[in-house]
Subunit: 475 residues, 2 copies
C-alpha cells in the first residue's frame, strides 16, 4: 500500500491541493490535518461580514467538512501536525484530545497559512481589543459592535464558532469609538466596516501614507475618501500602546490619548513556518518556506503553498512573499496536480492586489516603490496621470489616477497602480497581464483596448498613462 499524500492545513492552499490530487489520482489517498475547527473560509470576506453586508458567518464558508469528505479526502480537524521527519517521511500528529500518533507520507504539503502580527500590542486579555485573522475573531467583533439587545445570534451560525466568546462579546455594551491600528488592507476595510456600523472611527498609520504597497496616488486618494466619509485618519502617528486592563479604554500615540471602546490591530501577518524548523528546510523572504516553480521545498517530496510559502515574482524573477488568496488557491491546485503525476508550475506572482475603500476602487501590480525597483536592478521612471473613466460627455465619468513605472533602459513596464470610483479595480488586470508578458511601455501604448462611451474614453486611462510615460522615457 502506498503512503498517502499528507496535507497540513485545510484552507485555500491545502484543500485546493487535496481536491485536485483526488480528481487526478482517484486511487490514491489524501489526508488533510487541520489543527482547528475551521476549514475553507473566506478570510477576505470578514470585514464585509462585520460591516453587515453579509448576513451570516456561514456565507463565508466555501466548503463544508462533509463536502470535503464527499470528494474522497480524509479530513481530520482538531489534528495538529507537530513534527516532520523529512528523512523517514513521517509526520507526528497531536489530536485535540491530546493523543499523539505518527503518519507516513508519500508527499507532504505544508499549507499552514499565516497569523496576524500584533507587534507590541497584546490584544489577548483585553476586552474590546482584537486582531482580525480568523472566523472566531470576526464573529466576536461583530457581536461586540452590536447593542446587547439588538444582536442576532443567528449571524454566527456555524457550529465551529467559539460560542462562549461570541456570547461574552455580545453581552458587552456597544462601542461608540474605534481605533484601528494599521492602515493596510485590513485597516482600510475595517474603517469602512465599522463606519458602516455607525462607529466614530480613527485610523492610525505609522507611516505617512495609507496602503503603502499601492503607492502615493492611491494612498492620497484613499485618505481623502476616508476623511470624506467621516473617518479620522492619523498618518505618521504610530500608536504606542493599547490602554486598558480588562476592557480597552484608549490608545496612546504621539504623547496623546484617544479614548476608545474598540481597537482593531491590523499591522500585518507573518508565515506559520515553524512546523518545518529543525528539518533543514530553507526559509526565504519574510521568513516563509522557500519554494521553487513547482512549490517544492528543498526537502524531498515536501511542498509548501499559501501564506506560509514564498513565490517567484514575475517582474524580478526573484523570490517574494506576498500572502494573497489567488496565490494560495493556484499553487495548491498546481501542487495537487504535480503530486498526482502531472508536473504543473505554480505560476509566478505579479503582486496584483485590489482593495475597496468606500467608493474608491484601488489596484496595484508589480514594483511601485522606487527603492524596490532599484534593488531589483531597474532604473525606474514613473508617471502618474488623471484621466476620465468614460467619455467626458457620458454621465458617471470619474477621475481615475493611473501610475505606471518602467525601466529606463529597456522601457519594460515593471509596475502600476490605479484608483478611481468607476470600474477602476478590474482594470489593473490589464497591467498584470502586460507585466507577465514582459510588455514595454511602447507596446502598452499600442494595445487595442476597449472603447465605448459608457465604459471608457477613446484613450483608456492605461493608454493615456503609457503615452505620458513614453514621453518621459524618450527624454
Amino acid at each position: 500500500m502506498t503512503d498517502p499524500f499528507v496535507v497540513v492545513g485545510a484552507d485555500a492552499a491545502g484543500l485546493s491541493a487535496a481536491s485536485k490530487f483526488r480528481r487526478e489520482a482517484p486511487d490514491h489517498d489524501v489526508v488533510v490535518f487541520e489543527k482547528g475547527r475551521w476549514i475553507s473560509f473566506a478570510y477576505c470576506g470578514m470585514p464585509y461580514f462585520i460591516e453587515g453586508r453579509i448576513d451570516r458567518l456561514s456565507n463565508l464558508l466555501s466548503l463544508s467538512p462533509s463536502e470535503v469528505e464527499g470528494r474522497g479526502i480524509d479530513l481530520r480537524r482538531g489534528h495538529e501536525v507537530v513534527g516532520v521527519d523529512a528523512e523517514e517521511k513521517r509526520v507526528s500528529v497531536r489530536t485535540a484530545e491530546g493523543e499523539t500518533f505518527e503518519r507516513a507520507y508519500s508527499d507532504l504539503l505544508v499549507a499552514t497559512g499565516g497569523r496576524a502580527v500584533t507587534g507590541p500590542f497584546d490584544v489577548r486579555g483585553i476586552d474590546g481589543a482584537f486582531t482580525l485573522h480568523d472566523m472566531d475573531a470576526a464573529a466576536a467583533i461583530d457581536a461586540y459592535v452590536a447593542e446587547p439587545d439588538a444582536y442576532d445570534p443567528g449571524r454566527a451560525d456555524v457550529s465551529a464558532v467559539d460560542r462562549d466568546r461570541v456570547d461574552r462579546n455580545a453581552a458587552m455594551p456597544a462601542p461608540e469609538t474605534a481605533a484601528i491600528v494599521g492602515g493596510g488592507y485590513v485597516g482600510v476595510e475595517m474603517a469602512e466596516a465599522l463606519s458602516g456600523r455607525g462607529l466614530d472611527v480613527h485610523l492610525f498609520q505609522r507611516s505617512e501614507r495609507l496602503l503603502p504597497p499601492f503607492g502615493e496616488a492611491v494612498g492620497e486618494r484613499v485618505e481623502t475618501e476616508l476623511e470624506g466619509r467621516g473617518v479620522t485618519v492619523h498618518t505618521g502617528s504610530p500608536v504606542g500602546r493599547l490602554v486598558g486592563d480588562d476592557r480597552i479604554e484608549a490608545v496612546a500615540f504621539d504623547g496623546e490619548r484617544l479614548a476608545v471602546d474598540l481597537a482593531v490591530v491590523g499591522v500585518g501577518i507573518e508565515p506559520n513556518a515553524e512546523l518545518l524548523s529543525g528539518t533543514g528546510v530553507e526559509l526565504g523572504e519574510g521568513g516563509a518556506v522557500r519554494t521553487d516553480e513547482y512549490g517544492r521545498t528543498n526537502l524531498p517530496d515536501v511542498y509548501a503553498a499559501g501564506d506560509c510559502a514564498t513565490a517567484i515574482h514575475a517582474v524580478t524573477g526573484e523570490e517574494a512573499w506576498m500572502p494573497l488568496g489567488l496565490t494560495a488557491n493556484r499553487s495548491g491546485r498546481a501542487i495537487g496536480a504535480t503530486v498526482a503525476g502531472d508536473p504543473t508550475p505554480v505560476g509566478e506572482i505579479a503582486g496584483t492586489a485590489v482593495v475597496k475603500a468606500f467608493d474608491q476602487e484601488c489596484g496595484r501590480v508589480g514594483l511601485l516603490e522606487e527603492g524596490a525597483a532599484v534593488e531589483a536592478g531597474f532604473d525606474p521612471v514613473s508617471e502618474t496621470i488623471t484621466a476620465g473613466s468614460r467619455s467626458g460627455y457620458y454621465p458617471g465619468a470619474a477621475e481615475t489616477d493611473v501610475t505606471l513605472v518602467a525601466d529606463r533602459d529597456t522601457k519594460r513596464l515593471i509596475g502600476g497602480s490605479i484608483v478611481g470610483p468607476d470600474r477602476a479595480a478590474v482594470r489593473v488586470n490589464t497591467l498584470a497581464t502586460a507585466l507577465e508578458a514582459d510588455l514595454t511601455v511602447p507596446e502598452l501604448e499600442r494595445l487595442d483596448l476597449a472603447y465605448a462611451p459608457p465604459f471608457s474614453p477613446v484613450w483608456d486611462p492605461m493608454l493615456v498613462a503609457a503615452k505620458v510615460l513614453n514621453g518621459s522615457l524618450e527624454e
Copy 2:
C-alpha cells in the same frame, strides 16, 4: 518653401494626425480639408444623445474649429478634396461655393471615414426614416422623437447643425412605434435609446443572432436583456423594405407588415475610398484603402487612416478592416509622428469592441467565429463558462459568461468574449492584452489577476474560462 502636410477629413484620424504633426514639427504647415461643416465629433455618443442621457449636441464635440486653429492647424471646412494626383503630389479641392483649386502636398493623409450602408433601404425622402452616421441625423432623430410642443431646440446647440432639418422633424407628431433594422452595435444601442424615450421598439436582425461579431453567448444574453426591457426582437427576420411615401408607415418582413412611425436603418458602414480611385491605389479588406504598419498606402507619401483604411490584425497578422474609434485616433496620431520625422507604427488591432445593452456589458476580442479562425489557419477550440463577477457571498455578484477560443496545436489564445452586468466590459482588456502578447491558454490560466470580494472571486471569470478551455485542449 516646403509644401504642407495635407489631411483630408477633420474627424478622429485626421485631426489626431494634424495635431501630433504640429506638435512634433512646429515649423511645418498642415492643412486639413473637410468637406462638411462638422469636425471632431463623437460618433459613438450619438445614441446616448438621442436617449436623452446627454443634454446637448455640443457635448459630443471634442474640438471646436477655433481650438483646432489654435493648435496651428489650417482647417478648411466646406472644402471637399475631389481629386488626388499622386505623381505630381497635388490635390484638387472644391469649395462649398463651387470654386476649385489645386494644392501641393509634401505628404497626404486620406482620413475620409466611412458612411452608413443602407442596403435596399433608401431612407432619403421618407420622413421618419433615418440612418445614424452623422450629427445632423442624430439631431434630426432627437427632434423627431419629441412631441412638437415638448422639444427643446437648445438640444441641437451647434451652429453647424442643419437647423431646417431639425425644425422640420421637431414639428412632426412624435412617433410611438419604432423599427430598427439591423442588430449590430447601432441597432442595439438605438433600441436602448428609443426605449428610453418611451417608444415601443422592434429590433429586426437578418441572421439568427444579435451582435454577430460578439458570438453566441453574448448574442443570446443581449436578446434576453432586450426582451426583458420590452424590446421586441425579431431575429432571422430580414426586413424587405420600408413602406411609406412621404412618411414611414410600416416595415415589411416575412410577408408581414408592422406599422411603425419611425425606422432607423443600421446595417453597417462602408469605407469612403473613392477619392483615391484612379490613382493606382491598392484597396484591401472591405474595400478600404490598404495600409502598412506605418499607415502608408502603396502611393508615395500617401497615408490613410481611420474608417477608410485597413489595419493589421494582431492574431492573424493579416489585413483586416474594423472601423473603430481608437484605431482611428491611434493611427492618425502615429502617422502625424511619422510624417513629422519620427517613424511610429500605427499598431495592430485585436478586434477589441465593447457595447452596452441596458444593464449588460459586452466585450469581444480576436477571432470568435469558427469559420474565421479556420480561414486564418487555426484549429479553433472554444469553451464558454458562466462564473460570478464577485465572491458569491458579496452582494452584487452577477453571472458573467466568458467565451475563450484557442488554437488546438499551439494552445495560443485567439479570441474571446464576455458578457454580464457587473464590470464585464473592461475585463475584455485582459484578453486584448493577452492576445497581443501571444499568450497561450496555460499562460492565461496562471495570470496573477486581481481578487477582492467586491470586485472578483478568487478565480476571476477569465481564469475559470482558461481552466476549462485548458481541459479541452488536453483531451
